[in-house]
């Protein structure tokens, strides 16, 4: 059964959500002054001062983070649409991928809730509470890597299972390798909970900067491929 043009157009919007989420997360982080993130070695007082400073700008930035975070869901739908074309009926990898994307969206929103709470009335809270809330937001935000890795792994599994001849493949094999690499490299995030400073801490060179580059880079790579994959289908359906 041919897919209606309106559905393909909606799918196209979902693809663009991939770029939008990267931009929103990037702008949100910078605007909220979260690059670098507050140091895990900070005292409760320092954390309180951190969120009290430019509190309104922080709130705006964190709201952008939560909007960007919600877009993991529609982008996951765009990816699932392609994985279903590869897999056909059943499509286990497509479901796993979408489920993982949903978890990433949900948890990102939860972390931004916590950050909004931190920025809500920093002056009225005891430093201990600020410290605990800050840990609760940042440790899993940077340190929990499994939903993202699961999403990338599902994409890799589907691409490697594509038995079509090279010219007719739905998604390029290199994206499968890049996805496998993203999932594998994410394991480094396991080191984040062990440190309050140094390269693997949640504000460290590897724990934060390398991890963020790998994570967002993967979304950009998938976005670029989906943009090309879905373009001829929309044009083809419209004519």
């Amino acid at each position: 059964m041919p897919i209606p043009t309106s559905s393909l157009r909606s799918e196209r919007i979902c693809v663009w959500c991939g770029l939008a989420l990267v931009v929103l997360l990037g702008v949100g982080f910078v605007l909220a002054g979260l690059v670098p993130p507050p140091s895990p070695a900070s005292s409760g007082e320092q954390i309180r001062d951190f969120y009290a400073e430019n509190a309104d700008l922080k709130r705006v930035g964190i709201i952008l983070l939560s909007v960007g975070g919600s877009l993991f869901l529609p982008f996951g739908v765009a990816v699932a649409a392609q994985l279903r074309r590869i897999e056909g009926p059943g499509s286990p990898a497509a479901y796993v991928q979408l489920g993982a994307a949903t978890i990433t969206a949900a948890t990102t929103i939860i972390y931004t809730f916590m950050m909004l709470t931190l920025a809500y009335r920093p002056d009225g809270r005891s430093p201990d509470v600020m410290l605990a809330l800050n840990d609760l937001a940042w440790l899993p935000f940077v340190g929990v890597w499994s939903p993202g890795a699961l999403q990338a792994a599902a994409v890799a599994v589907a691409i490697f299972a594509d038995r079509r001849p090279p010219g007719e493949r739905i998604l390029p094999r290199w994206l499968g390798w890049v996805s496998a690499w993203m999932a594998f490299t994410s394991l480094t995030g396991s080191l984040v909970p062990f440190f309050t400073d140094g390269p693997f801490a949640w504000n460290g060179l590897i724990g934060f900067y390398v991890a963020a580059t790998v994570f967002l880079g993967w979304y950009l790579a998938v976005f670029t491929v989906l943009l090309r994959t879905t373009a001829p289908r929309v044009r083809g359906a419209a004519t």
Partner: protein, 194 residues
């Protein structure tokens, strides 16, 4: 596969498949960041690095280096054997390579056990941070590379032509060589340099 694609592939001669090299190059980039991190911390605390290196069990690391290099050698022989259609010889070489991978894992486990029982952990300063974290990440790579070798050996069945499996064999071999190469940089950096 069409003959046109085949001849195009013959012209380009990339071992394995092109996409795998994206994986390998990206992994090398990340490890470059790791190596620069080690150099950075060594520059900050040369004395602590020298003291830390003196406590490591260099002999075990030398054995492990021999394991990986020997592994690389037999993996090359395995691919050569498969190319000439000698399935059994290829399987024997892969078995030997798998043994070197397992040997590396066992010796590394022993090394960690010694250090931990001597009271060292990842929290004892930047030298031990670098040592445990980066050898640990490399160890995970050896686990994957050894699993890939097992997969390669399973793909080679006695009595059937190994030709369709050559891209898999070449790709798996390339990955093993990368893991070997990373160790050949990590080993002097952590055990010898100060």
């Amino acid at each position: 596969m069409s003959t046109a694609t085949e001849s195009r592939q013959a012209e380009r001669r990339i071992p394995g498949e092109a996409g795998l090299w994206a994986f390998i190059l990206l992994d090398l980039v990340v490890f470059t960041v790791f190596f620069v991190t080690v150099l950075h911390y060594r520059g900050e605390a040369p004395a602590a690095f020298a003291a830390g290196q003196a406590e490591l069990h260099g002999g075990l690391a030398v054995i492990n280096t021999l394991f990986l290099v020997t592994g690389s050698l037999v993996v090359v022989r395995a691919v050569e054997a498969a190319r000439s259609g000698a399935v059994l010889a290829a399987r024997r070489c892969l078995t030997a390579a798998i043994a070197t991978g397992c040997g590396f894992l066992a010796v590394k486990g022993l090394e960690y056990a010694f250090l931990l029982s001597e009271g060292y952990s990842i929290h004892d300063g930047t030298f031990y941070l670098c040592y445990f974290a980066f050898t640990g990440v490399h160890l995970v790579h050896v686990v994957v590379a050894t699993a890939v070798l097992l997969f390669m050996r399973r793909a080679l069945r006695a009595g059937s032509s190994p030709a369709p499996r050559l891209p898999l064999l070449e790709g798996g071999a390339a990955y093993w060589h990368m893991v070997d190469l990373l160790w050949l940089i990590l080993f002097p950096l952590l055990y010898l340099s100060a």
